[in-house]
Amino acid sequence: MMAPSTDYRARLKALSQCVCDGARLMIGQGNYGAYVAHVEKTHPDLAPMTEREFFRNRENARFGVGNKSGFRCC
């Protein structure tokens, strides 16, 4: 969970970030910023996907060819 903060606005921002991330992850879209940060840290020689490529990559990972777990529950 978020660390307690005295700054009310920072907490509100963190909460709205959490809600937005949560809503996006519900439909299979991870956090693009976290992805870019990861690539820059571990593969500095590689260019990360653009936001548009990332979006399509995640869409395909959720429903695309070969994915046997792309179904919702009953």
């Binding site: 809503a23 991870g30 940060a37 990861h38 395909n60 429903f63």
Partner: protein, 687 residues
């Protein structure tokens, strides 16, 4: 002192829960407030989470917060990403919650609210949440592998193939029963058919927008889609009034069946971004929003439950589905109590996203408690409407006829407590903007009436009831169609895998011919069961829902067997009762129910008895309703024999997996060391 401070508040929660349960269970004669059911359930969840899930996490699994999860060891920024546990909870919950927890409790309400409520609570605490949590743990310790791979690794190749095949059969039955729910809700309903049909162009518009115009802006595209959906509901009301458009959107069940089969085939070969993905956004957000709305509605309105706590139909003579309380209640309510399907989700994307092992408790066990709460709310929604209306909506036409007069007379005859007048039936239909509510089995319409009843008491009053009814129908149809589309795709890949075992050429999922063929086979398989359900003499749900329940509980038994084997292989068998008890219970329920569905002499329950009844009539040259000619009579005989064969298959699967499970446990017992196949533990780097 410390113990009092630590456990005191929880003792109070326990006492409150016990008091609420006592009120719910002992109240007779007068209706009680639904809030007591909610309070009792929430207290049970809190206590179970605080104590039982902690016991499982510490003793059975020995979760280690220092041990790295796959999200860290395999971090790729895409599939494996350490994720905030609240965010991941939302992801997991959205993946496990679907139509199941909404439909099962509605059907089970024919026995009164108490049996269903007790099974939902006991089932989730001791079986359902344990299964989800255990499989999440097992997968998390093995790089997030899928259920099929886990079974192959820990139990052997043959159990792995059996599980894969079983999963495929469940998918087929699930898709058929979900599609049947849509057919039952939309037959002769121009308003419903128009709004659900409108989701197709709306989704396509959203798909084009999110792909080309503003890529990746799912928030704004979902808002646009939502507004268009609301407009479609409002406009659907005009369609239903209009003498020109009305007939164009009025279809019989059989017509809708063929449309759905065609839709399933086309939708599952279209590119995902065009139809499937955008509708998934709508259905996911609408689902979460509606669940929250229903919870608020129940809290604000505090409705009284009209259905008796226990009805006489516990003896198995109920009109909605046949069979006695044991074993059929435990088959009818699957999702919400225990659902084998969740084992696929818990070994899917979720284990790859867990940041810390300790989070698995909140996500696995907590997520399932949340779904169980959805089932409790569905039960409340079904029992706050008049029992007479409930039975009018859920009894088959063969029993209650097709007019308000015949239905009112037949339902009143069931039990004086369900007395209803023809005027009440026509008035309810009018309130929700439909021409008829008679024999709309399948759960969705009943739930929609219940939800409309609750929400319209809070917002909009009677005038808004028709809007809320069609909103609820749309919300269910939307995610059922998404499931049909996504499920057909997933089923196609599974089928290609299975056929690939025989003919390797089938495995190529990018080649056109095998893909089209596998898609066609998949659609034909669920389409067959759907068609059979729509033309079934007992209303379809009576046949298909138990088959679905048996197959779902069977998968749960398989998943819990895997969990038991892993516990033995970890040499922690002194805690194995945690999974053995639910496994044995599920085996007893599925095997008894399977046996009765095959061999019961009552044609309402036994498939073979029903087949015999119809074949005897054929021998005498008689035509029994709803068949209209000899061809249909032969078809019903064949259908029932196929259903019986399917039940035999499911029973065989359970027995086989249980046998393999016992052998693996014995082998692990005889070994003196740890034999579970976890990925090598890596500790988090010290900070």
């Amino acid at each position: 002192m410390g113990a009092v401070q630590k456990h005191g508040p929880w003792a109070l929660v326990g006492a409150l829960g016990a008091a609420a349960l006592a009120i719910v269970a002992t109240q007779r004669g007068e209706s009680i407030n639904a809030l007591w059911v909610v309070v009792a359930s929430v207290c049970v969840y809190l206590i179970a989470y605080r104590y039982y899930s902690l016991f499982i996490a510490d003793k059975v699994m020995a979760l280690d917060p220092k041990r790295q999860t796959p999200a860290h060891t395999h971090n790729d920024g895409l599939d494996y990403v350490p994720t905030n546990k609240t965010v991941l909870f939302g992801h997991h919950f959205a993946a496990i919650a679907g139509a199941g927890p909404l439909v099962g409790p509605v059907l089970a309400a024919q026995m009164g609210y108490l049996p269903g409520m007790l099974w939902i609570l006991a089932g989730v605490v001791l079986a359902g949440a344990v299964q989800d949590f255990m499989i999440l743990f097992v997968s998390m310790r093995r790089d997030g592998r899928s259920l099929g791979e886990l079974i192959r690794a820990e139990l052997g190749v043959i159990p792995g193939v059996i599980a894969l095949f079983g999963t495929f059969m469940i998918m087929i039955i699930l898709l058929a029963v979900l599609a049947l729910i849509v057919v039952k809700a939309l037959a002769d309903s121009p308003w419903g058919t128009f709004t659900v049909g409108a989701t197709i162009p709306i989704a396509m518009l959203m798909g084009v927008y999110a792909r080309y115009i503003r890529p990746g802006k799912v928030g704004e595209v979902s808002i646009v889609g939502f507004l268009l959906l609301m407009a479609a509901i409002v406009y659907g009301g005009h369609i239903a009034e209009d003498p020109f458009w009305r007939p164009l959107f009025t279809f019989t069940g059989t017509q809708l069946t063929w449309m759905l089969i065609g839709y399933g085939f086309v939708a599952s070969i279209l590119p995902v971004w065009l139809l499937l993905a955008p509708r998934d956004y709508l259905s996911t957000f609408l689902k979460i929003g509606t669940i929250v709305g229903l919870a608020l509605g129940i809290a604000v309105v505090a409705p009284h439950m009209q259905m008796p706590a226990v009805t006489k139909f516990v003896d198995g003579t109920g009109p909605v589905w046949a069979g006695t309380l044991f074993p059929f209640l435990f088959i009818t309510i699957a999702c919400g109590a225990v659902s084998g399907f969740h084992a696929l989700i818990s070994s899917g994307t979720t284990p790859k996203l867990i940041d810390n092992e300790k989070d698995a408790r909140f996500i696995g066990y907590g997520g399932m408690l949340m779904e169980s709460f959805v089932a409790i709310m569905a039960l409340v929604a079904a029992t706050v409407i008049e029992p007479g209306i409930y039975f009018t909506m859920n009894s088959p036409g063969a029993l209650i006829g097709t007019t308000a007069e015949s239905a009112a007379a037949a339902v009143t005859k069931l039990d004086p407590a369900f007395t209803i007048t023809p005027e009440q039936i026509t008035q309810t239909a009018k309130d929700v903007g439909e021409t008829t509510i008679i024999s709309r089995a399948g759960g969705a319409p009943t739930l929609a009436v219940g939800m409309a009843h609750i929400i319209s008491s809070a917002i909009g009053g009677k005038a808004m009831m028709a809007f809320w009814y069609h909103f609820a129908i749309l919300f269910e149809a939307l995610f059922i169609l998404t499931a049909v589309d996504a499920g057909t795709r997933a089923g196609r890949f599974m089928l290609q895998d299975l056929l690939g075992l025989i003919a390797p050429g089938f495995k190529d999922t990018s080649a056109w011919a095998p893909s089209i063929l596998a898609t066609g086979l998949c659609v034909a398989a669920w389409g067959y069961f759907l068609y059979q359900g729509v033309t079934d003499p007992l209303g379809g749900i009576n046949t298909l829902w138990p088959l679905f329940g048996i197959s779902n509980q069977m998968l749960a038994a398989v998943a819990l067997t895997l969990a038991t084997v892993v516990i033995f292989k970890m040499k922690r068998q002194r805690y194995a009762l945690v999974t053995i008890i639910p496994t044995v219970w599920l085996c007893i329920c599925t095997l008894t129910a399977g046996w009765q569905k095959i061999f019961s002499p009552d044609p309402k329950i036994g498939f073979l008895a029903q087949a015999e009844r119809f074949s005897n009539a054929i021998a005498e040259g008689k035509v029994l309703g709803p068949a209209k000619n000899m061809d249909q009579m032969h078809q019903i005989v064949l259908n029932n024999r196929i259903d019986a064969a399917l039940a035999v298959l499911f029973v065989g699967l359970v027995v086989a997996i249980a046998a393999f499970g016992i052998m693996a446990c014995v082998k692990a017992m005889r070994t003196d060391r740890w034999t579970a196949l976890e990925a090598d533990p890596k500790l988090a780097p010290a900070e």
